[in-house]
Assembly symmetry: C2
Homo-oligomer: 431 residues x 2
Amino acid sequence: MDIRQTAQLARAASIRLAPETADRKNRAISDIAAALKRHADEIAAANQTDLIRAEEERLSAPLLKRLKFDTGKITEACAGLKSLVSLADPVGVTLQATELDRGLELYKVSCPIGVVGVVFESRPDALVQISSLCLKSGNAVLLKGGSEAAETNRILARIISEATRQAGMPENWLALLESRSEVAAMLDLDDAIDLIIPRGSNEFVRHIMENTHIAVLGHADGICHVYVDSKADLDMALRICVDSKCQYVAVCNAAETLLVHRLVAEEFLPRIQTALEKKGVELRGCEKTRQIIGIKPASDEDWQTEYLDLIMAVKVVESLEEGIDHINRYGSGHTDVIVTADHARGKKFMDCVDSAGVFSNCSSRFSDGYRYGLGAEVGISTNKIHARGPVGLEGLVIYKWRLFGNGHIVADYAGAGAKAFSHRKIPPLQG
Amino acid sequence: MDIRQTAQLARAASIRLAPETADRKNRAISDIAAALKRHADEIAAANQTDLIRAEEERLSAPLLKRLKFDTGKITEACAGLKSLVSLADPVGVTLQATELDRGLELYKVSCPIGVVGVVFESRPDALVQISSLCLKSGNAVLLKGGSEAAETNRILARIISEATRQAGMPENWLALLESRSEVAAMLDLDDAIDLIIPRGSNEFVRHIMENTHIAVLGHADGICHVYVDSKADLDMALRICVDSKCQYVAVCNAAETLLVHRLVAEEFLPRIQTALEKKGVELRGCEKTRQIIGIKPASDEDWQTEYLDLIMAVKVVESLEEGIDHINRYGSGHTDVIVTADHARGKKFMDCVDSAGVFSNCSSRFSDGYRYGLGAEVGISTNKIHARGPVGLEGLVIYKWRLFGNGHIVADYAGAGAKAFSHRKIPPLQG
């Protein structure tokens, strides 16, 4: 079966999934958890096959670790499914309700998007998480995981499909793609796929974004900044810089560039140098920085690099405005932090920095669906439309306009003697 | 100045526009209205130049009518601006507020999208309407109007820029593009433009959608259906069909295809034939239809054609499900209507038809921002993400996550002795 047919079956399934009730979807998600536990041995065996091949192919230790899907991971995945069941149904929420005239009532009601394509790298837990998020939000999903995890992904997809089929969900709501050529073909299916979510490296996400006209939800770079203002509490700034840079360097919400207002640079830079170098961080600075502390020079390239490593670029800025301009020019619109004790300056930064997350006096590392309390994260978006920042279930729904009349026609509201619209707020739609 | 520079200036202006207050933006919009009235003679003269050239170039009468921008049109435009001032500010609305921990507060707050590119055909009133919608929502805008209206658009853009500059709005928030090559160049500026809104013919919108990686808000086709169910009140169905087809044929929310359940086909088809033919509508039918009424045959092409004319395709379906399938296959996701007295069948149609507007027992012609009470319409979207159906000001905003801490770092919430998140709902952000 080619990918177009697969996508068409998924679209047909998405139509049947749309009216499913929260109870039935939740029961199906619970059944996935039960099935994963029941088939734990088979999953472990399939994962073992992947691990052996990966070792033969000399995958790096961190990648091997991500690939591993053992009993502990199954237990974690099941806990995730349980917490997903406890979240409110994102579908069927009345967002707006207006009486247009007597007996003519308009409801803007949330509904699934339709068919979502998700491409993710090695971690097999992502397959369980993403497919269950799609099911909860009533979407069909085409999934492509890393080829290293082929056996694990195959058995997980089979178990999930089978468990949900037995729970009465439509067949074909979940399809696993197995080759890169299928991903390439998927990117062309504007008419069958409504949203693509790529999860992986910068290059990978950028490649997807540049090769499809389908809407893409995600982020390529995470070039996050910490700006230490002239009015900053420097002890606080120190803690926040160290945490933003070092608490976990290999992730998109780690800080890459430190901006320091010139009025506090002489005092702050030697202190942050000591603190960061103690953590093994290499600093690269602008000219003004290097007049104060002895570090390597930063090039223009540094301002636009996501190191994902123990390296930080440092720049002295003349003003809050220069800091904002630098971030809007070189940043990636992910998450940026100001440290300041001055409320008005903090507000200006948060108003004018054009990023998904604008933080005052706290670490960039808080930019995360779990920490935000979203319950489950589809991904982090640096898009400017639909959904921005950490995206939970609400990023997988859109709305439709439901209009109920009783024979109402527009001719009665036009021309001489036209009836008037009432446009009166009414209570949400029930049932 | 090339288009990239223009877009960069617009982006810089959008950053300065983002923190503007509702009062100041509203005052600027009122000042636009005053300036249009003050410069009415100049506008009329410029429009006269366009009209004379258009007549020489033998533009059709409807196009000439759309091009005309006289005192009456200025008065209308000013009334539109006045009503825009009265709408609530879409920027700065707290959509969600959560305490993550004591003193660590997260707010999801609406904000402008940034830079919007709008390409519209001849009507100069669209320039006033779109630019003021962008200003109200805090967005910078690059505008390209029809070349027939070049002189009118130029003077309108100059008056609006000048009036808003005097009202203290940032310069360069509005730029007028003058050539097709500038539009082509704009479509490549993924990094400088956040959203494209094309308003015009199918071919035109489709061309834009296929030639940019920037998000596009709009609709190409409007292939709307009326489905007359087995449980329909046939008198009501008759009224709704005639209104949906004939009340104004040349618009996207007019119906193009009539679907009739076989159980009512014998009774309904002769009646609707009489009614529609009296209005001058040509009917084209499927085989089953033609066994009941003598009309031309419909081809597969007819099911996917937006006539925008006095033509309607007619098909007899065996079931509600066949009707839904037909709409999801051939429709454009714009607006589709069921006529039925059976609530459960109506609900199934509205759940399963994957369109922006799903209507029960009323005309497709209600699908419109003004009738919905949105106040002002940016356009109608058949997208599946961001905004769907008639889109008002809320389609021109997104949100950012504002997180306020007091030195909070993630290290305190990780590992042994980790602090817990409270994730408690709190009141919206003030000021």
